[in-house]
């Protein structure tokens, strides 16, 4: 058990560095860079015209469909990971194969359904 935790101690060290590095870089930039104030400098770029309205609009529903499809198939991929390590050489090869192909087969029905429904087609 300690072996598993041991292999993640370097991860923790790197995580701390990763969290500290960008703020430290920006602190250095703050010390080094010049400052000037002008109101128009802080406007967002909109091809030269004065920005109108907010940019925080609602998502198009098709992104939601892609997200749902992604969650479905990514979970499928996650189930495949443990299966990939055990299907061979543990005496369960045939049953593991049948089970996994049944699993993929069922998901393929969902995939074909999504395709035929047009959920995977980009709407203009």
């Amino acid at each position: 058990m300690s072996g598993i935790i041991d292999s993640y101690i370097p991860v923790a060290i790197f995580l701390v560095i990763a969290i500290l590095m960008p703020p430290m870089t920006m602190f250095m930039v703050k010390k080094l860079s010049p400052r000037s104030k002008a109101a128009s400098k802080y406007t967002t770029y909109e091809s030269g015209s004065v920005p109108t309205g907010t940019a925080r609009i609602q998502f198009n529903v098709e992104y939601y469909l892609y997200a749902i499809a992604f969650v479905l198939f990514d979970v499928e991929v996650l189930f495949l990971y443990p299966w990939a390590t055990v299907y061979k050489g543990h005496g369960i090869t045939s049953i593991a194969l049948v089970e996994m192909f049944a699993f993929i087969f069922i998901l393929l029905f969902g995939y074909i359904y999504l395709w035929k429904k047009g959920a995977l087609t980009w709407v203009k």
Partner: protein, 346 residues
Amino acid sequence: MTVVIPDYIAPLIPWVRGIIGLVLIGAIFIAAMGAVWIERKLSADIQSRVGPCRVGKYGIFQLVADAIKLFTKEDIKPQNADSLLFNNANIFMIGSVFLVLVALPVGAVFINGVEYPLAVTEMDISVLYIEAVSALSIFGIFMVGYGSNSKYSLLGAFRNFARMVGYEVPLGISIISVAVMTGSLNIVDITSAQGLYWNIFLQPLGCFVFFVSLMADMGRLPFDQNESEEEIIAGWITEYSGMRFGLGFFAEYMHMVLGSFLVALLFLGGWNVPGFIANNSFLGLIAPTGFLLIKTIFVLMVIVGIRWVVPRFRIDQVVDLSWKKMFPLALLNLVWAVGLGLYLGA
């Protein structure tokens, strides 16, 4: 001959490895600078230009000059930008790179015929871990795009999201196809198993799917719809300027370097070359890491070269490519890999 480690030192080893491993962070920064230089010079060659040539011999210090410029630029946050998202996005981009770096073996040494991979840490599940943390950078890109309150940024972020979710799935499946051959999720095991047959020859389709998905994941041309300059100015980095942009840009190139390492390790045999047996002690120390680096640089140059060969796809073409072509191909390759694995294993 084995070195006996006393009991009171053993718990400290992961800490020591982690702290020594921080050297790799410096190395990856230098590697990313090298990648930028290779990209500029190769692009210039392809377009019959000279490329950077003023700062240092052959312009190798061009990026140092750029870094000085970025460090002395004012940090501008647009009005109405979401400070929390805008300021902390870099942590996700840089963090994703650093966390991949922890588990990635960057070489190997052979001492008396025994293989010791040069990695900061070894995990049982390193390919799963690498795929998980490398996907973190999408959060950084979306935080910038949504946080900067600019329409162009938001469009870039949306496109990035639509593209990334499509290519994560084929990427995952092609990684599993590789893991299936070895029956292990440890990237060191996967690489060591390719002593004679590299995975690119065993499953060329898988290599193709992995490479295309990786290009899309890294946002390299022809898959850079999130910042396509001709349509949406600069996409998600429209309002991201100065050193903030610099860090994001660097993270992108570091991703490219790490992606090349992944291709070399998973499909090109890593530090193995058929026929090379590390019995000579000095060669065993140097050569395997050298082979890996040569392969990585080769992959890197292919990635850079493709930029000038294929024009950028439209976003709907990209999404179609992932869901309607890459996903079925990845599944097909998985079936092939399972069959081949059973045939070779029996």
